[in-house]
């Protein structure tokens, strides 16, 4: 189906047009990005229906059969990610309409954001390993630019760190691809899986696994590789922090990691064990780093490390129930973490600071920000009946079922630590006495309120994803990962 190309071509074309005309025509870029992200969101929702009927949608670019040509593959997992990415991007773009008025040259921001969206969508739909790498780099390069968008000293420093670490990660991934290509003579993900299944698992696959783990782990900010994340995510403008923490690290890190390991290289007990160790480590370290912060955005950024730990831990358990929990938590985290970053942006927009020591009592003035922020914070800490509770519950039940009692206990304890630092955020920012400095502040503009309210509604209703009506949306994604090698057969039968 040729329409799959839209996911990359439309944002790329939009980015090009904005770069060309954005400076000359006023408000051109704002209209274009919102139209593009809305159309991509509706198209990805349409794909949910289509993919549940067809199981696998494939697009051969230029009509060439793989392995000669590149193919785009959309299965349950890819649809799931596409919906998540485009939903968050759309709401972030709505928010950015008024928020970015603080900066000059909003059109440059829009052009870079479209480039990043093209890269993320490209990573998700790609069925070819090198194509995945190229889109990963497109998204990363746009990300480096967006982190430095404010061109303050801190922004530049954060972006430089991120650019060096990110490029190193990409080089590891490229080296892995080079080794795999020299071994299997193909770059098609399904093709590589087929060749590897016919050979004994040698040292090479183990080495490539390590390279991919380091590369994608760095992109996902798992704990030994997490140092760049807090700097980059807290220095970027708020909509970008929301997009980076909400969907960027999940697409480039987690999605690529699980696609490569579960569907291509094949999972082994050792690998699952490594994922569990990394996940638990990220959970613990991220949470304890977050609790010490008094910059709101840095706290949220470390909290992302901790929550990514939950997701990776769930994938490491490897049972279908755990994968369900992991994917649900991925979706929920995309929603509430972007909501929280947008809240932080709203606080910064109204007061000009994001230092918790200077804030207090804002809930009386910023009612919408305070209310949505409360829902987001309670959801991420796992208070029932909000969305975050269900996904954490499923992960912990799955861990107990699989016999990982110690890790399950850690997950519960870290959930309490999460609650602690989000209560700290609530108490110091929104509750308490209103300081005289903030008497005159006003609530943020309507578009910013709108996207925060929509995200908060999804936070409240996120648990409903478990009811049978939404079964095709999440269960197909679980099926793709649980089937492992089944991806290969599905692709080859769809190609015939």
């Amino acid at each position: 189906m040729k329409m799959l190309l839209c996911f990359t071509i439309i944002p790329l074309a939009a980015s090009f047009l904005i770069a060309l005309l954005g400076k000359k025509i006023k408000n051109f870029s704002g209209v274009v990005v919102n139209l593009v992200s809305l159309s991509l969101l509706s198209f990805s929702l349409y794909l949910v229906v289509l993919a549940s009927a067809q199981k696998l949608i494939i697009c051969k670019i230029g009509g060439w059969m793989p392995p000669l040509g590149i193919c785009l593959v959309v299965d349950g997992l890819a649809v799931f990610m596409l919906v998540t990415v485009n939903l968050v991007s759309f709401l972030v773009m709505v928010y950015a309409l008024s928020y970015m008025s603080r900066y000059t040259d909003k059109w440059k921001f829009d052009a870079l954001f479209m480039l990043m969206l093209a890269g993320m969508n490209g990573v998700i739909v790609s069925g070819d390993l090198f194509n995945l790498y190229v889109f990963l780099e497109v998204a990363s390069i746009a990300g480096y630019g967006l982190v430095a968008f404010g061109v303050e000293a801190e922004d530049l420093e954060a972006s430089f760190k991120y650019a060096i670490m990110g490029s190193l990660a990409s080089i590891f991934i490229l080296l892995g691809i080079a080794l795999l290509y020299s071994f299997t003579s193909t770059l098609n993900i399904a093709g590589i899986s087929l060749v590897l299944s016919g050979e004994p698992r040698g040292q090479l696959v183990a080495f490539v696994s390590v390279l991919f783990l380091a590369g994608f782990g760095l992109k996902a900010a798992l704990v030994p590789f997490h140092a760049w994340l807090a700097d980059a995510h807290s220095s970027a403008p708020a909509p970008i922090s929301a997009a980076l923490s909400g969907v960027f690290i999940k697409t480039l890190g987690i999605y690529a990691l699980v696609r490569v390991f579960f569907n291509m290289l094949g999972i082994t007990a050792n690998l699952l064990f490594i994922l569990i160790v990394l996940g638990v480590l990220s959970m613990v370290v991220g949470a304890f780093l977050a609790i010490a912060q008094h910059d709101i955005k840095r706290m949220f950024a470390y909290s992302s490390v901790s929550q990514i730990g939950y997701i990776v831990f769930a994938f490491g358990i490897g049972t279908p129930l755990a994968i369900l929990g992991g994917l649900l938590h991925l979706f929920n985290h995309a929603v509430f973490k972007s909501l929280l970053f947008l809240n932080a942006g709203a606080i910064e927009y109204s007061t000009g600071t994001r230092d918790l020591k200077r804030l207090g009592g804002l809930g009386r003035r910023l009612t919408v920000t305070g209310g949505t922020g409360f829902l987001g914070a309670m959801s991420i800490s796992g208070i029932p009946p909000l969305a975050g509770f269900w996904s954490k519950l499923i992960i912990i039940i799955a861990a107990v079922q699989a016999g990982y009692f110690g890790s399950a206990l850690i997950a519960v304890l870290i959930s309490i630590v999460t609650l602690a630092y989000y209560l700290k955020f609530q108490a110091t920012a929104f509750l308490g006495k209103l300081e005289r400095t903030w008497e005159g502040i006003k609530e943020v503009p309507l578009t910013m309120q709108l996207s925060m309210i929509i995200l908060a509604c999804i936070c409240v209703a996120g648990g409903l994803l478990l009811i049978p009506a939404f079964k095709p949306f999440i269960q197909d994604a679980v099926g793709v990962l649980a089937a492992g090698d089944g991806y290969r057969d599905a692709v080859f039968s769809a190609l015939k």
């Binding site: 390069i141 000293a153 420093e157 490029s167 080089i171």
Partner: protein, 112 residues
């Protein structure tokens, strides 16, 4: 075999440069060296000794040809690494304007 080993040494030189150097320009040079090493390795995987270009022509039998795909891929990689290099160098210039130094140990306003 020795050529792969040399390639590995080049990779290690770049990695050392990134990890140990304090000047950000030298770090960028290290990044470039690593990228060259990986590109070189990728090209070498497709190279055949005394191989010829894989151009199909009439009345010719190609016995030993170089794999063209890695070369095409490396071309893409070079373009990507050029873009990364442009971004990183321009960041380094702006950092120098703000901080007045290239020393990475003195560029530390972000903590925690």
């Amino acid at each position: 075999m020795s050529v792969y080993f040399l390639c590995f040494i080049l990779f290690c030189v770049g990695l050392y440069c990134i990890l140990r150097k304090r000047n950000i320009i030298k770090i960028i040079i290290g990044l470039a060296i690593i990228e060259y090493a990986v590109s070189l390795f990728f090209i070498l995987t497709g190279y055949r000794l005394h191989g010829r270009a894989p151009i199909f022509a009439r009345d010719q039998e190609i016995l030993n040809m170089v794999d063209p795909l890695p070369q095409a891929l490396v071309l893409t990689t070079i373009v990507i690494s050029l873009v990364v290099m442009v971004i990183v160098v321009s960041l380094a210039l702006r950092i120098y304007e703000k901080y007045g130094t290239f020393d990475i140990t003195k560029i530390r306003r972000l903590k925690g």
